[in-house]
């Protein structure tokens, strides 16, 4: 936030400001009066073009006798770089009284808040007053009322009784309307999710997606573990964005501990983040061919992905790049041989991937399937705060790597591809272009890799401090927020994955398309269930 914005905000809402602080360089925390919160959020969203990047509910009754809500905004909005030295993340926080566990919903003005508020209702028992769709979200109906797992007085070992109530699906009724229930158990190796289509003939009228079948209690568990063990948890939030999540976790704690990690560690982290993007994007492009029945393309894509994962294993010992990150840097260094191995493998991959694209993306039958299918409009993308590939394919120019540089992204030059069509084809093309950009980034970093240490020791972290850690994962921005507790533990760990914000966009994209195109549309988003269902 630039000073002009901040000054405007303070004059406009001076009566509501209780406190403001900048605990870490680019994050501004403003404590506001609860009754003014909606107004300030609207001002930030509508006037300043800020976007909601996360919303956290926290039980701080043991600390200050109330619940607390945090609204995280990214400033300025999409499309331009943040000027140097400005505070780019603005956080509004407000207290919610224990005796009146309610807050005013901001969803009617900012649709992007809808899932966060429902989640806070499920996990903390704070009621969003005025929420247009206050149904259960994270905890299904078989979870009894009155059990709120993220409250501090809820023991993580509690096994609540199973209850049963029906979830009210939105229904479309009328002559010839056909309901198609799909899942939660699927034919392929896919995570659980229930999709309810209402269709007339082949045309889809409405889709309701029901996720959260495997709530794992990750955030609760993180409050039990010491921060060194919490890292392993962060690495296992999901398989395919493992390194991004781990990096977000480490970056948040490094900010809190106020340590500077060695330059070489920054470089290596960036290299691994890009290697993660590479194997995901290459795999996703190949997987699109499974949706269109182009089996040869699918097989070739899988082959290339396998080569990249074998490269991961060769340089880090793990196909998913696990076990490399640690708070304070990296656990293993990259030898000169491995540096050369990466370069030579990538050169080979680049050639083969190019050849694959030349075949699959210019085939008329393939193009006919991809183009104009599953269009995500820029308006919907903006309203829901969609991130990553899906946002950039719909004309939202946002990329954390450029907008809020972390690790060594400010040391390299790269292009952020942008398309405006918003269809399946655009999302595939964004991935394809990013593959080549990733290879360029890795090559630049490997050419200028500084020597030196790869980590600094972090023994303990100060209590009751907080910071954001964020990465642009292959699916988009992963925003982690950590508040620490005494004994180097975490008080609250909020993980907001890219998939979590992008999932609500999928059911909005589908209506108007035909039923057999749904798998293809879904694959073009390729969202993760595990990241969403924490």
């Amino acid at each position: 936030m630039t000073d002009t914005y901040f000054n405007e905000l303070t004059t406009q809402f001076s009566y509501a400001f209780l406190d403001s602080e900048t605990p870490v360089p680019d994050e501004l925390y403003i404590t506001v009066k609860p009754e003014a919160c909606v107004g300030i959020c609207r001002y930030l969203y509508e006037k300043c073009g800020a976007s909601l990047v996360s919303m956290v509910g926290s039980d701080e009754r043991p600390l200050n006798g109330g619940f607390r809500l945090y609204y995280f905004f990214s400033l300025p909005g999409h499309g331009s770089s943040v000027p140097q030295g400005s505070r780019s993340f603005v956080n509004l926080q407000m207290k919610v009284d224990e005796r009146h566990p309610e807050f005013t919903s901001i969803t009617p003005y900012m649709p992007a808040a809808h899932w966060y508020e429902r989640e806070i209702q499920d996990l903390l028992g704070l009621k969003p007053v005025g929420h247009p769709d206050p149904r259960r979200l994270v905890l299904h109906e078989n979870w009894p009322k009155g059990f709120y797992p993220l409250r501090k007085d809820f023991d993580y070992k509690t096994q609540p009784p199973r209850t049963s109530e029906d979830f009210e699906m939105k229904r479309v009724e009328g002559e010839g309307v056909f309901e198609i229930p799909v899942g939660p158990v699927h034919a392929g190796i896919i995570e659980p999710g229930h999709f309810r289509f209402s269709s007339v003939g082949e045309k889809i009228l409405n889709l309701e997606a029901r996720l959260f079948y495997k709530h794992k209690g990750t955030e609760k568990l993180a409050e039990i573990l010491p921060f060194t063990k919490g890292l392993f948890l962060a690495e296992r939030i999901c398989g395919v964005c493992s390194f991004s999540h781990a990096t977000s976790y480490c970056q948040a704690l490094e900010k809190i501990a106020n340590i500077q990690i060695p330059e070489r560690a920054h470089y290596l982290r960036t290299i691994f983040l890009e290697l993660e993007r590479l194997y995901n994007h290459v795999g996703d492009v190949g997987n699109i061919c499974a949706g269109t029945g182009l089996l040869v393309g699918n097989a070739q894509g899988m082959l290339l992905k396998e080569k990249l994962m074998e490269l991961n294993e060769a340089i880090t010992g793990n196909r998913y790049l696990r076990g490399m990150n640690t708070v304070g840097g990296l656990r293993r260094d990259l030898s000169e041989e491995k540096r050369i191995l990466i370069l030579s493998t990538l050169r080979q991959i680049q050639k083969e991937f190019k050849a694959l694209i030349d075949v699959i993306m210019f085939l008329s039958t393939q193009r006919d399937r991809l183009e104009t299918t599953g269009i995500l409009s820029q308006q919907v993308a903006r309203d829901l705060g969609v991130v990553g590939v899906a946002a950039r394919a719909s004309g939202l120019d946002s990329d954390l790597r450029r907008d809020h540089p972390y690790a060594a992204y400010d040391k390299v030059s790269f292009k952020v591809p942008l398309r405006t069509e918003g269809d399946v084809s655009a999302r595939v093309w964004i991935r394809i272009e990013e593959v080549f950009e990733s290879i360029r980034i890795i090559e630049q970093l490997l050419d200028t890799l500084p020597s030196g240490d790869i980590r600094v020791e972090v023994k303990e972290i100060p209590p009751y401090k907080y910071a954001l850690g964020y990465t642009e994962s292959p699916r988009g921005a992963n925003i982690h927020w950590i508040m620490t507790a005494p004994d180097s533990r975490l008080y609250r760990y909020k993980i907001r994955s890219a998939s979590y914000v992008n999932w609500p966009a999928v059911p909005l994209v589908v209506p108007g398309n035909i039923v057999p195109d749904f798998p293809l549309i879904n694959k073009s988003f390729n969202l993760c269930y595990s990241c969403t269902d924490l």
Binding site: F178, G188, C289, G293, A299, Q300, L363, R369, T373, P516
Partner: protein
């Protein structure tokens, strides 16, 4: 005399039954090679059949007698067709029983019951697949009939063995513009009738996109064996028709396998080189097939005049 004919007819049926899984296995193998995979053995389809036959079956409580009878009807229809088409000889032992039209209609019976069975269990995927199958069928059937008619006009007979004989007698003169047009039209119909890419994807696990696989999704055990097997036999019969109608030379046991192998390779190549069509583009493909047949017919009539 009649007894020998019946015996020979039965032998032909057994021959088709025995060979059909192998053809399926070969197509799968070739597709696997295209995908840089080793792929299962070409005999895998036999092992699958044995496995299905040994397994228990689970039948939906909602299923009526239609669900139970359909596998047998499919098998019987397709075997009857098997007795009516010339396979490894021009003469058909039981050819007196029916001509090309009967072949088309027996396939229609098979499809009719399969679509009913898809609806019968009340599963969403079955119903969806049945409605798609009917859409495809309503377009594929006229295309198939038209191409057979064009050949019948050339040959002057609707009797399949008569047709093959006439075409064989023409020797090299059989290759005319209309003949080539019909060949292309016929290949398209065969792709649709056998549920192959670009019309249907036989290897998909995505229920929402299925046609043929969707209708048989509820089948298991012995019934599934019958459904799969009859589909493979139907495929072999269509290949046989293609081979004997469009390469009507050297029709005997020695030349039959290479002809079928060439067709299997052709189908595998087509399946490996195009993406599956968007559902509502399938009518376009079949319309092209019909149009080609009509063109062939016109060419033929003009030439005849």
């Amino acid at each position: 005399m009649i007894l020998t004919k019946i015996l020979l007819g039965l032998l032909q049926i057994v021959f088709l039954m025995a060979l059909a899984p192998l053809v399926q296995g070969i197509i799968k193998k070739i597709k696997a090679l295209f995908q840089s995979r080793r792929g299962p053995s070409i005999f895998q389809s036999y092992f699958d059949l044995i496995k299905f036959l040994k397994k228990d079956q689970v039948v939906s409580e909602q299923a009526s007698w239609i669900f139970h009878i359909t596998p047998y009807i499919c098998m019987i229809s397709v075997l009857t067709v098997g007795a009516l088409v010339p396979v490894i000889g021009v003469s058909v032992p039981l050819g007196f029983a029916g001509d090309a039209l009967v072949v088309v209609y027996l396939f229609a019976v098979m499809r009719f019951f399969m679509a009913l069975a898809g609806l019968d269990t009340g599963s969403a995927f079955g119903g969806m697949a049945s409605s798609r199958e009917m859409m495809v069928a309503s377009l594929a059937e006229p295309a198939l009939l038209l191409s057979l008619f064009t050949l019948a006009l050339t040959a002057g007979s609707l009797n399949l063995s008569g047709m093959v004989q006439k075409l064989a007698d023409l020797k090299i003169a059989v290759i005319s513009p209309s003949y080539l047009l019909v060949f292309v039209a016929f290949v398209m119909v065969v792709l649709a009738e056998t549920g192959r890419i670009p019309v249907d994807n036989p290897t998909t696990h995505l229920e929402l996109t299925m046609i043929h696989e969707g209708m048989i999704l509820e089948y298991s055990g012995r019934y599934l064996a019958l459904m799969e097997w009859s589909a493979w036999i139907k495929q072999l019969i269509l290949f046989t028709l293609l081979a004997n109608l469009f390469a009507p030379w050297e029709i005997h046991l020695l030349w039959y396998p290479p002809k079928i192998l060439v067709l299997a390779i052709l189908v595998a190549c087509i399946e490996s080189s195009v993406a599956k069509l968007r559902l509502f583009r399938i009518p376009d493909l079949l319309a092209v097939s019909t149009a080609l047949s009509i063109l062939a017919l016109i060419t033929l009539v003009l030439k005849g005049l």
